[in-house]
């Protein structure tokens, strides 16, 4: 939204303007480019208006500034421009400030309208100062634009040479631990002394021919010191006795659970 009006000084500053503040603004003598998008908020617009008073910001007439702002907004309204809410809020506040400044002093009022005006003035000064500071920064001899670093530096290198900490003990203990850990384990199942069922069958059958009376099963076992073998022989002989009983060659008798087991030929 752009309209033409006056005065010429009402033009949003851009960065170029602030860099070259004395740039004559010719060609726009009787024109006001009203472009609310061009201002960065009401404070920016106020600052631009204040500058048009062409006095030190510390000495501007706040009342005149308020008039200017309200007139500006009124113009925009007349042209049926959409005006962002924050501009209207500022306009309302300034209208209030204006009435306070014009009315007889009320000593009870806190803060006083003078203080409010001073605050506004201070804010404008601060914004103006920062805007100027930014422009001065940008105008400095900037690295990579005005001054340059060496184009092709050889570069510095710090070569970090590792002094590895390891001694012979570390080496051989690592080797030992690794061998112990990782050499494939070979599992050999040791041959255990057992009496097979076939052996037990033969043995029990043969001995039954000799003993016709009730005999304890243990009597059929071979004499041995090897407890393992004896257990195996007992188990096999028991199974052999069951097998022979099934074939009708042998009888088995036991009085109680876990009582001695007696056998005789049938």
């Amino acid at each position: 939204m752009r309209i033409s009006a006056s005065p010429a000084t009402l033009r949003p500053m851009n960065e170029t303007d602030s860099l070259f503040e004395d740039t004559p603004q010719i060609g726009s003598a009787d024109r006001l480019t009203l472009d609310l998008d061009g201002w960065e908020g009401p404070l920016d617009l106020l600052l631009t208006l204040a500058r048009s008073q062409k006095v030190d910001l510390a000495k501007i007439s706040i009342l005149a500034l308020v008039e200017q702002y309200l007139a500006f907004i009124a113009d925009a309204k007349k042209l049926k421009l959409e005006i962002a809410a924050d501009y209207l809020v500022m306009a309302a506040w300034l209208a209030y400030l204006k009435s306070c400044l014009l009315l007889p002093k009320d000593p009870e009022q806190d803060p006083s309208p003078e203080e409010l005006a001073m605050r506004l003035q201070l804010r404008l000064q601060r914004l103006s100062a920062m805007r100027e500071a930014g422009a001065r920064l940008m105008a400095r001899d900037r690295l990579g634009r005005d001054v340059f670093l060496r184009g092709a530096p050889e570069g510095l290198r710090v070569i970090r040479k590792a002094q590895w900490q390891v001694d012979l003990y570390d080496l051989i203990s690592a080797y030992g631990a690794m061998r112990a850990r990782n050499v494939p384990a070979v599992h050999v199942v040791g041959r255990r002394p057992v009496m097979t069922l076939d052996e037990a069958l033969t043995r029990v059958e043969r001995m039954l021919g000799i003993n016709v009376e009730w005999t304890r099963l243990e009597a059929f076992l071979p004499e041995t010191q090897d407890g393992e073998y004896r257990k195996s022989a007992l188990a096999s002989s028991f199974v052999a006795a069951l097998e022979l009983a099934k074939r009708g060659k042998l009888e088995i008798e036991q009085q109680d659970a876990f009582a001695p087991l007696y056998v005789r030929s049938a």
Binding site: E40, D86, R123, M130, L137, V147
Partner: protein, 209 residues
């Protein structure tokens, strides 16, 4: 010899124009010339060895390079050689102006530099508008602004400050060299507005115009 009026032709005989330098100065010269990055005194010491008074040597070199096509400068306590500013016209390269900072970014940068550490809300209070999303990003991407911790007030807002690269880019030895910073401070324009108000009221009196 006087070099001011001499033409290029008569330098040939002026052997004394550059005297032989002692090795400690030569070493620092060599290291700083070769360096791809600005170097602190400690960085330099590490390269030239502990036996050299680097600080004193830098001061000598700085003075001697002052009138040359190349200057030795310190930025944020890190030293580098750079071309003299008045040679800019010979060196300025065609560069894309697309990277030109927006007005918002320039103002935001100035506010951070002069007020640091400063929160986003404080920046917005000074500018009277909200900062758009990209503005701080652009400044951080340029390497000029960094987050500088949270302020211990309700909401714990993040604050921002400038970097060593900022000082180097804008040719500032330290923040004290920011243009006009002393005047601004004296005028109370860098204080929070309430503090500034109090000062103003004291100066002009409560009934001040």
């Amino acid at each position: 010899m006087s070099s001011g009026g001499s033409s290029a032709g008569d330098h040939g005989g002026s052997r004394g124009l550059f005297a032989e330098l002692p090795d400690d100065l030569r070493a620092i010269e060599a290291v700083l010339f070769a360096a791809a990055e600005p170097m602190s005194v400690d960085d330099i010491s590490e390269h030239v060895g502990a036996g050299i008074d680097v600080k004193a040597a830098l001061a000598v070199l700085e003075a001697h390079y002052a009138g040359r096509g190349i200057n030795l400068v310190a930025r944020a306590k890190r030293w580098h050689f750079q071309t003299a500013a008045d040679m800019a016209h010979l060196l300025r390269r065609e560069r894309d102006e697309s990277r030109k900072l927006s007005r918002a970014a320039v103002e935001t940068l100035a506010i951070i530099a002069y007020h640091e550490p400063v929160s986003r809300a404080e920046i917005e209070a000074i500018r009277g508008v909200q900062i758009s999303k990209g503005t701080l990003d652009v400044l951080m991407e340029a390497g000029w602004v960094r987050p500088a911790g949270r302020r211990e007030v309700p909401g714990r807002p993040l604050t921002y400050a400038t970097t060593a690269d900022f000082l180097a880019h804008f040719g500032l030895e330290s923040r004290r060299d920011l243009p006009g910073i002393d005047d601004l401070r004296a005028a109370g324009l860098l204080d929070p507005i309430d503090a500034a108000m109090e000062q103003l009221v004291l100066e002009t009196g409560p009934e001040g115009d």
